[in-house]
């Protein structure tokens, strides 16, 4: 016995000769994606009277580098739903291809594509759950906005684990911390959906985006907004956050290089 624990229990070199380490595995267990690569930050969405509004900025970051500034993270599905993606951008593109083939397949039937946003959310949550169960997750947190089978506004979330939840307003990523409190203040639980107009919802989302632009270092002031109503989907890309004021930055203490 010596004082090297890693030797304990092993054949002693002085008796058996040096250990042939070629029998040992040099590779670890097989692994898939352990972290996302190119990522999108928050998606925020709000239900209002007669529809749902959803926003996401147009940035795809590579780590902390603002790598792509014109990435559309809101994807429209067959005039019936909008999906907002945060997380890995290549996984978003993969899911988008899946959605494309579903749309084509559905349109072969006599009555066209009858999948609504709720059906789509169920499907996506199963895809995400299957992939996490294979230890090969699609690294996204997504929001699905549209209508359910009773033509009521529908908004629900699904994440890389296949977890789902829904609420009158939802946000992913940093937005879950910074936008949700704002939305809860603007649209408290006791306020009925009927009192929230489309304009209220849009203004609230812009306000949230601005706060995120000020405080989330992985965000951008160019964004896309989609509004889903019974009339259809109105998607505005290449929007810009206006009326910025950085005066407050002066008062921030305790971060970064400060002289005093």
């Amino acid at each position: 016995m010596n004082h090297y624990p890693e030797i304990w229990g092993r054949p002693r070199d002085d008796i058996y000769g040096p250990y042939n380490s070629s029998y040992l595995q040099t590779t670890g267990p097989k692994t898939y994606t352990q972290s996302p690569a190119v990522t999108g930050t928050s998606v925020i969405a709000v239900k209002f009277n007669g529809g749902v509004a959803i926003v996401a900025d147009n940035l795809a970051s590579y780590g902390s580098l603002a790598r792509f500034t014109d990435v559309k993270r809101l994807r429209v599905f067959s005039d019936s739903a909008v999906i907002g993606f945060s997380g890995d951008v290549s996984d978003m593109q993969y899911i988008h291809r899946l959605l494309g083939s579903i749309d084509i397949r559905e349109n072969y039937s006599t009555h066209g594509n009858m999948l609504n946003a709720k059906n789509l959310h169920t499907y996506l949550s199963k895809v995400l759950y299957k992939r996490r169960s294979e230890f090969n997750p699609l690294w996204n947190h997504l929001l699905v906005a549209g209508f359910d089978e009773d033509k009521n506004p529908f908004l629900s979330s699904a994440d890389l684990l296949g977890t789902t939840y829904s609420a009158p307003h939802l946000a992913t990523g940093f937005g879950a911390h910074l936008a949700i409190p704002i939305l809860r203040r603007l649209f408290p639980e006791e306020k009925p959906l009927e009192e929230i107009t489309k304009e209220h919802a849009e203004a609230a989302l812009r306000e949230c985006l601005k706060v995120l632009w000020y405080r989330d270092a992985r965000s951008l002031d160019k964004y896309s907004m989609a509004v889903i109503t019974a009339e259809g989907i109105e998607l505005k890309e290449d929007q810009v956050i206006g009326a910025q004021s950085w005066a407050f930055a002066e008062s921030i203490k305790g971060y970064g290089a400060q002289i005093n």
């Binding site: 039937s109 009555h111 009858m114 709720k118 169920t122």
Partner: protein, 258 residues
């Protein structure tokens, strides 16, 4: 020994362009007892005449519920129908699992048609010896489809397949207008009357030999459905009585006319 050289398998065409095995399969459908299907604007109804193999045996099932929004009626080899219906049940549950929605009727009918067609194009396979009537509702309303062993499918307003089904088809063709504009209960009566037309002289519809399946849109509208309901045994009494009282009324009016 053979009728001809071209009916040994389902993959060889005859010089006239026919596939005899498929045609024989369609004969098996004609041997099966009759089933009738019909739709109006809100409902789809299946009625079938059940046969018992012998006096002391039970009656062969003619109508099978696939899901709460859909059912089938079968004419031909019941065991082949069970294979098809199990497949349809699986597909239907699959749709509910992955999309959270009842599978559209035309979708599932196309799927069984594709399966049936494969059996007519691969050596060593045999066509299904069964014809189906598929009745169901989806977002586009009530539907009735006819399925044949050849893999052909048709959406129908009213249809009858099986032994002596021509009589029922004649009834359906003559009353198509009335059927399309009927209420739920009238639709069932029309189905039963069409079925009655096919009976031979010494037979009649009883609670033992009749089977009825109904599915449709619920009164409330807004996409809510009235789930598939299978009427058998004593549940049939009011339906059969409605047919008889309807006929009695018709006879009265005819007397007035003459």
């Amino acid at each position: 020994m053979f009728r001809n050289n071209y009916d040994n398998d389902a993959v060889t065409f005859s010089p006239q362009g026919r596939i005899f095995q498929v045609e024989y399969a369609q004969e098996a459908v004609k041997q099966g007892s009759v089933v009738v299907g019909l739709v109006n604007k809100t409902h789809a109804v299946l009625v079938g005449l059940k046969r018992n193999a012998e006096e002391l045996s039970s009656y062969q099932k003619k109508i099978i519920e696939i899901d709460s929004h859909m059912g089938i009626a079968i004419a031909g080899l019941a065991s082949d129908a069970r294979v098809l219906s199990n497949y349809m049940k699986q597909q239907s549950l699959g749709s509910r699992m992955t999309y959270g929605r009842p599978i559209p009727v035309d979708r599932i009918v196309t799927q069984i048609a594709d399966r049936a067609q494969t059996n007519t194009q691969h050596y060593g396979k045999r066509p299904y010896g069964v014809g189906l009537l598929v009745a169901g509702v989806d977002e586009a309303g009530p539907h009735l489809f006819e399925f044949q062993p050849s893999g052909m499918i048709h959406e129908m307003l009213a249809c009858a397949i099986g032994a002596r089904s021509q009589m029922a088809r004649t009834y359906l063709e003559r009353n198509l207008e009335k059927i399309t504009n009927s209420t739920r209960d009238e639709l069932i009566s029309h189905g039963l009357r069409a079925l009655k037309e096919t009976l031979s002289q010494d037979k009649e519809l009883t609670v033992d030999n009749t089977s009825v399946g109904v599915v449709g849109l619920a009164d409330g509208g807004k996409g809510k459905i009235e789930s598939f309901k299978h009427y058998e045994g004593q549940d049939l009494v009011p339906l059969l009585e409605a047919v008889e009282s309807g006929e009695a009324k018709e006879e009265e009016t005819m007397e007035v006319d003459s």
